[in-house]
């Protein structure tokens, strides 16, 4: 009788232990799956990072670390740092771009010399660029109204961009930070066909290149 009771107890005990173990197995499997998923995600982050920043060698070392020590968190932190740096750069680019976007230089009909009423704006642009310590390339985009042939307008737009570039250099801006392009009449800001619209389209505007 006693032995039967003992046997029954042991069976129950074993049963309970077995049931208990199974969940542990599931947990382990889940953990492994989660770890694998995290590693995959990390790998993906690293791939994305490599696409953005192109530091191929650096990314391989971080991968080795995670394989050996499972220090996924470290890798994630590193990736976050990189992403933070990129975010900062993007923010600074946007900040400079937004400062320059409001500074548009306008020109007279068929002319590419800088008008007297635009000189103060040119000075402001020069100050914004000179105050910028980071390494940016600023593109001066020359534009025209819709009159004239497009080839002539491309050349006129180029002259307008060059005139502004030269003016900025004369005011102490590093010419190496500036590049020029002409859009002729293909980049209007105003599509109506009237004098105020044409005046708005005869312009130089500035963008910050990535």
């Amino acid at each position: 009788m006693k032995s039967k009771k003992l046997l029954a107890t042991m069976s129950v005990f074993l049963f309970l232990v077995g049931c208990g173990q199974q969940p542990e197995l599931d947990v382990d499997a889940n953990n492994q799956a989660q770890q694998q998923q995290q590693q995959n995600t990390t790998q993906q982050h690293q791939d994305n990072s490599s696409n953005q920043t192109e530091p191929t060698t650096e990314n391989n070392e971080q991968t080795d670390l995670s394989d050996q020590t499972g220090v996924v968190v470290t890798n994630q932190e590193s990736t976050e740092d990189e992403n933070n740096n990129q975010d900062e750069t993007a923010t600074e680019t946007e900040s400079l771009a937004s400062k320059l976007s409001g500074k548009v230089i306008y020109f007279d009909f068929d002319k590419y010399n800088i008008r007297d009423d635009q000189i103060s704006k040119v000075q402001e642009i020069a100050n914004i660029i000179k105050d910028e310590n980071r390494n940016f390339t600023i593109r001066i985009e020359g534009n025209c109204d819709e009159w004239g042939s497009d080839e002539y307008n491309y050349a006129l737009g180029l002259k307008r961009a060059k005139t502004l570039k030269q003016a900025l250099i004369n005011l102490g801006v590093d010419g190496a930070k500036l590049t020029i392009i002409s859009y002729g009449e293909t980049n209007p800001v105003c599509l109506s066909h009237n004098r105020s619209c044409w005046a708005k389209n005869r312009r130089d505007n500035l963008t910050v290149l990535p």
Partner: protein, 397 residues
């Protein structure tokens, strides 16, 4: 006597406005087109071709088997029988005077979409068989770029009537297309990326190769075999340059601190637009001596030029108003002559391009800010327009 004197005065006051035009009687051959299976689309192109070529007249009759054609149309010179089936066009052209068949042919197309080119071929053959000078230009393709939006331009290929149109390049700013060869299988065009880049593109295979890149501006204005005339920003300065695509040698042709654009090969010279006198005008430069001289003394402001053998056409700005609509008209002069012929009278008429034989001129007309292609038959004093629903940036023919 008094009445006679008044009459003379009246006539004199209007004499300066009288244009004496001597008409030489010239009967255009009349062709009766008999058909049963001939879609209206094909009929329309055949009619348009006859109008553009302007050497013969057509009259359509739906009855392919009319044997009494001479009685029905006693003034007809020829009869053309057409039958279209399964993308094949069967034609027979007969001289009603001597009953001789002068053209019997079958034209075949792989897809109905390209039917305009099939009809242009037929029109070319009809014109040739009637003994008129060849009209190779009717078979040519037009390549043009249109504004799709700000910083967005696409390039299309079309037939001369703009009935067939196909977008071949899009996405971003694709400008100034130019045929790279006489066979019209490849084009040059400029894409405005971070800097302008010149590409060569095969319109049939899609093969694309990068030719040249520069800062600022890069436009192909003329092609002569392996040599390109470019408006290029050397030292950020728009000048006319010559580039050899075979040996990759770039040569500066003009060197001026203002604007030099739109260069064209012209024998041992180049013709181009320059603002070296403070306003754009047409100049020529002798490539041997380097001498630059003004070519065109009529009018003050010329924004585009086209040349063909002894003919020069300029687009001349005739109003000078910063705040109102301006008019640009096409003016023709012949080398060695001083007479100027006005080809257009209103609107903005720009970008003239000659056909190879110089008998036909294509241009862009912007009238009330819509674009049309204009075709001028110079020896026929005839202009036709083909409307397009977008604004054309540039084209080549």
């Amino acid at each position: 006597m008094r009445i006679f004197f008044i009459l003379v005065l009246f006539l004199f006051s209007y004499a300066k406005n009288l244009e004496v035009v001597k008409y030489v009687s010239h009967k255009e051959p009349k062709i009766i087109v008999l058909y049963n299976n001939f879609p209206n689309k094909l009929k329309k192109i055949l009619s348009l071709d006859a109008e553009i070529i302007a050497n013969y007249k057509l009259k359509f009759q739906k009855n392919y088997d009319d044997e009494n054609i001479k009685e029905s149309y006693p003034d007809a010179d020829f009869v053309l029988k057409v039958n279209f089936k399964n993308n094949r066009l069967y034609v027979v052209l007969k001289n009603l005077g001597n009953n001789k068949i002068i053209l019997k042919k079958m034209y075949q197309i792989s897809s109905f979409k390209v039917y305009p080119f099939m009809i242009h071929k037929l029109s070319y053959d009809i014109n040739s068989k009637l003994g008129f000078p060849k009209v190779d230009w009717i078979n040519k393709k037009i390549v043009y770029s249109v504004y799709m939006g700000a910083k967005e331009q696409a390039i299309f290929v079309a037939d001369i009537t703009l009935t067939y149109r196909k977008k071949i390049i899009f996405g971003g700013l694709n400008v100034f297309p130019k045929w790279a060869n006489k066979e019209q299988t490849e084009i040059y065009y400029t894409k405005l990326e971070i800097s302008p880049v010149l590409y060569k593109y095969n319109i049939y295979t899609g093969a694309k190769s990068r030719v040249l890149s520069t800062e600022g501006m890069l436009v192909v204005s003329d092609v002569k075999g392996d040599k390109l005339l470019l408006t290029l920003a050397i030292d950020e300065q728009p000048d006319v340059c010559e580039y050899n695509v075979k040996n990759h040698i770039l040569k500066r042709v003009t060197n001026f601190s203002g604007i030099d654009v739109n260069g064209h090969f012209y024998g041992n010279e180049i013709v181009f637009i320059s603002d070296r006198l403070g306003y754009p005008n047409v100049y020529k430069k002798n490539l041997t001596t380097g001498k630059v001289s003004k070519l065109f003394y009529y009018g003050k402001n010329h924004i585009a030029v086209a040349v063909n053998k002894d003919k020069i056409v300029v687009s001349s700005r005739e109003t000078d108003n910063a705040f109102e609509k301006n008019s640009f008209n096409l003016l023709l002069i012949k080398k060695g002559e001083s007479a100027v012929k006005r080809l257009t009278f209103e609107g903005k008429n720009i970008s003239p391009v000659f056909s190879d034989d110089g008998t036909t001129l294509l241009f862009i007309k912007e009238y009330k800010f819509n674009s049309k292609f204009g075709i001028i038959r110079l020896d026929k004093n005839k202009i036709l327009y083909f409307r397009i629903n977008r604004r054309i940036q540039a084209f080549d023919f």
